[in-house]
Symmetry: C2
Subunit: 192 residues, 2 copies
């Protein structure tokens, strides 16, 4: 019983540290682990007990974020409008990208190897592939498009928005171009 409570406490601390770290590093702040501890209302020793290095903390933040995105993608697999589900998720990923790129950059700078994050990336990639297939089967997206080039568009849109520091209106216009281009070419047979 006491052990269960301790475990629950530890998990709660871990969650709060991750949330604080995501907030700090996702905004591009080059913050110390002390700042994360302060925001999470835990002692610095507690942070280091959960995450022995800054790289370990950053990687855990990135993995959490990628897993959350994968869960969101999977939740959309049953959507009534697979085309809208795909473009909606695309827009969500692009809007989310600045924080993700900041965390990935900090992870790289901290010397982390990113193996776990890479695994989480693959899982997200696979989930997006399923969303793409559904949208193509529904005739909402051109059937000749492969996942690799779709993913290149997704990564590219994210990095392009960050590189040009686009505001929301410009970002929406950019996405509108991509989404218009994804639609089946006239006369193309449906795959379903």
């Amino acid at each position: 019983m006491a052990n269960d409570m301790m475990r629950a406490d530890a998990q709660d601390n871990r969650r709060r540290i991750l949330a604080a770290a995501e907030k700090v590093y996702g905004s591009g702040e080059d913050a110390s682990t002390e700042r994360v501890a302060e925001l999470a209302h835990v002692g610095i020793a507690t942070v280091f007990r959960h995450f022995p290095t800054k790289a370990a903390l950053l990687e855990a933040v990135l993995v959490t974020r990628l897993e959350r995105l994968r869960e969101q993608a999977q939740a959309l697999l049953g959507a009534a409008d697979p085309g809208a589900a795909l473009t909606g998720f695309f827009a969500h990923l692009v809007a989310d990208a600045a924080g993700k790129l900041a965390i990935a950059g900090a992870l790289q700078a901290s010397g982390g190897d990113g193996t776990d994050a890479e695994r989480a990336s693959y899982a997200l990639h696979a989930a997006v592939g399923e969303l793409l297939t559904r949208a193509q089967e529904a005739g909402a997206v051109r059937a000749d498009l492969g996942l690799d080039e779709f993913y290149a568009l997704l990564i590219g849109a994210s990095r392009g928005v960050a590189a040009m520091d686009l505001d929301e209106t410009a970002r929406d216009r950019m996405l509108d171009v991509v989404f218009a281009g994804l639609r089946p070419v006239d006369g193309e047979p449906r795959t379903s």
Copy 2:
């Protein structure tokens, strides 16, 4: 006369060093300055006389490349088909991007500040803006698209291709999506 010949020789050496450096660093090779000297058939002292640091050499390579692209963009301003000129140049930039990204990465790693390259980038940006305006005036590209989001697409497509390591076929399919999306929406009034 002797002076003129020496100057011509020096310029020839400079050109050969730049071409060799572009070849070496553009392929992502983390090569030494000695390797560049060898490829350019000049002594290492000659390389250092022209480019005192590796960062200076890399920046000169990048500037040369950006200026060449800007000249190509400007040469296309008189094209009979402004829409094809814009998409053709877009495809050219994306195909050219892997080398450019490799050189820019090496420049950053060498500690170069990139001020000259930034200036050359702005000039290219402006030339692409003129190509976009021509294509919009010709009714080949949707009129509501601003240069910032167009440039985000361009940068994004380049980085997406590099990140996913797309082959030429996949790259063409990706570009096809972008180009289809650039076309005016049905019923949109022409700007010209």
